[in-house]
């Protein structure tokens, strides 16, 4: 995976400029200034907003403060989703900075999980990692690791330490040379508009004939209505990557190579979001947006897989 390292670093260090504003009905002793922060895409809201909390608590009385929660345009933000996912799902079409409203009262019990301590976040994160490994390796790799390795994954995430994290995570991203890929691909397809939070199904990276499956194959299998011609052009995001979809397959779900072609296949960096333009021989339009524009494609163990471009 050494070739992919800069891609991995780009994903890890992706940031979203955010403006936090206190909800107007919160009771304050003096005016609350908004708080600006660069949020890491690869983390969780409640893990990285201690400063935000402290900032607003300074202007509030103790008794007015209970569990913090965040909301964007009326929608409570699920802290247990990666920040990058939340942004891509709810706010990718709006101008930066991302405006988030901070609440300290009336916790929405029906919408949000509680997060009373960092232990909750760690438990959730590790559960995601374990579930992804159940799919990739029948849990063999994660179970063979020692507790201290699990801790290192968590500390790497918590302290934003790329090397520390990937020293362990790379083991979760490998497979034996005789296999051609993971047992099943850990993925989830999120849509902002449905009650069901995400679509997750078993999907093998290799077809029975031995050929590698593509992203298009997966989408056809898992949400056929999304790729039907009458659905129009679609836009898919993967972590922070806008993946253009066209009729010529092109992507492998693999440990990940991204084609760095100067003309087509060029990787553009724009506002912290990576845009991937597919390289292929026929000219195909970049997909236009429609109701499925909010579909987000990500990995169940959150953002540690990648996409390969095949021209």
């Amino acid at each position: 995976m050494t070739d992919d390292k800069d891609v991995l670093r780009d994903v890890w260090f992706g940031r979203i400029p955010t403006c936090f504003t206190l909800y107007q009905d919160e009771i304050t002793e003096r005016e609350a200034e908004p708080y600006y922060l660069l949020l890491p895409r690869i983390s969780y809201l409640t893990l990285v907003t201690d400063k935000v909390k402290k900032h607003f608590q300074k202007v509030m009385r103790q008794e007015e403060v209970s569990e913090i929660w965040f909301e964007y345009e009326g929608t409570p933000l699920k802290w247990h989703y990666p920040i990058g996912l939340l942004f891509d799902l709810h706010a990718s079409n709006t101008a930066l900075p991302w405006s988030i409203t901070v609440h300290f009262k009336n916790f929405p019990e029906k919408d949000l999980l509680h997060c009373h301590s960092k232990d909750v976040i760690e438990a959730h994160f590790m559960a995601c990692i374990k579930e992804a490994d159940a799919l990739k390796h029948k849990s063999q790799v994660i179970n063979e690791m020692q507790k201290k390795d699990h801790k290192q994954l968590w500390m790497g995430l918590q302290n934003d330490k790329f090397e520390q994290f990937w020293a362990i995570n790379r083991k979760l991203m490998e497979y034996p040379p005789e296999d051609n890929g993971f047992r099943y691909i850990p993925f989830r397809i999120y849509q902002a508009t449905t009650e069901r939070p995400f679509i997750q199904k078993l999907f093998r990276p290799i077809a029975s004939g031995g050929q590698l499956h593509t992203l298009g194959d997966l989408l056809k299998d898992v949400c056929p209505s999304a790729v039907a011609p009458e659905a129009g052009d679609l836009r898919f995001f993967m972590h922070c990557t806008h993946v253009a979809m066209c009729s010529h397959r092109i992507y492998h779900l693999d440990k990940g190579q991204v084609k760095r072609d100067k003309k087509e296949g060029e990787i553009k960096s724009q506002r912290g979001v990576m845009w991937l333009v597919p390289g292929h021989t026929e000219r195909m339009p970049i997909c236009k947006r429609d109701t499925f524009a909010n579909t987000f494609f990500g990995f169940a163990n959150t953002f540690f897989g990648w996409i390969k471009v095949v021209s």
Binding site: D119, A127, R196
Partner: protein, 293 residues
């Protein structure tokens, strides 16, 4: 777990003395005869069939389970709601208590004399709690998973600490070994709302030990009944003995004498008692371990 005696089941294995200790330390030492047996995988189709069978029996005995299908993808889950009355000998908010305190308090309830006035600062209240249980299928682990939520009649949901505290005393040891690996709050995969979940990652461990080797005959029994009767009581859900009568799948290798009678239940019970690596084992044969907290 279902109440029963050790019974007169003809093929009843006796675990070796040290075996149980090994298992209660949380690591399963699977006997050599079982190593190399194929994983028992519950496919989604089979999960649905067994749920259907389960619901049919539930309807016959009025146990309140129903199957709900999701409109968009056609998958679904089992659902049951029931109300439970709990006696509390505590005056203050449970939230402030650690798990140790909760266990002490709950056990004190058993040992205490009837004269509460002797205990300073404590009063008895009765609370009604509404429990909603869902059984979903996990394609990642290929096992069923138990989701549940609980709230008081005024709508206030129970906190995670209160849920941990309400786990039966028999299972508190195991819970306290790793509460974050056992019961946590998670998003319901179909409804998208917060529920508590009993973690499924160890399900395969204990289920495969009751489905392989000497207990291969269990494979034709209803997986949901086997599984739910074991995990349900941990979180206050009882599975009436009547489910043991559910006729197994038609199978040419079935031993009809043993499979159709309710007396196969005690054997099953013993197997669970003997091979439950998931939970710290205190054999509660005397007590009815049916989730009365």
């Amino acid at each position: 777990m279902l109440e029963g005696t050790s019974g007169d089941h003809p093929v009843q294995p006796q675990p070796r003395q040290g075996h149980l200790e090994q298992m209660t330390q949380g690591r399963v030492q699977i006997p050599c005869s079982m190593a190399g047996e194929e994983d028992f995988v519950l496919e989604e189709k089979r999960f649905k069939q067994h749920c259907e069978e389960f619901v049919k029996h539930s309807q016959q005995i009025g146990d309140g389970w129903e199957w709900r299908t999701s409109k968009d993808l056609g998958d679904g889950y089992l659902s049951k709601t029931h109300f439970q009355v709990r006696n509390r000998h505590i005056a203050q908010d449970l939230r402030e208590k650690t798990n140790d305190n909760i266990e002490e308090t709950l056990l004190a309830h058993v040992e205490e004399s009837l004269d509460d006035s002797q205990v300073a600062g404590v009063c008895t209240t009765e609370e009604v709690i509404r429990y909603e249980y869902h059984v979903l299928y996990s394609s990642s682990y290929q096992v069923p998973v138990l989701y549940f939520r609980a709230c008081f009649l005024d709508g206030r949901p129970l906190t995670l600490e209160e849920i941990w505290g309400s786990v039966h005393a028999c299972y508190q040891d195991r819970l306290q070994e790793g509460p974050w690996d056992t019961i946590t709050q998670q998003e319901h995969p179909i409804l998208g709302q917060p529920f508590f979940v009993l973690h499924p990652c160890r399900t395969n461990e204990f289920i495969s030990t009751v489905l392989t080797g000497p207990w291969k005959h269990n494979r034709h029994k209803n997986y949901i009944i086997l599984w739910l009767s074991t995990v349900g009581p941990v979180v206050g859900l009882s599975v009436p003995l009547s489910y043991a009568k559910v006729a197994p799948e038609q199978n040419s290798s079935t031993d009809s004498a043993e499979s159709s009678s309710a007396s196969s239940l005690p054997g099953l019970t013993f197997q669970y008692f003997a091979y439950l690596p998931y939970f710290a084992m205190r054999i509660c044969a005397e007590r009815e371990v049916l989730g009365h907290c």
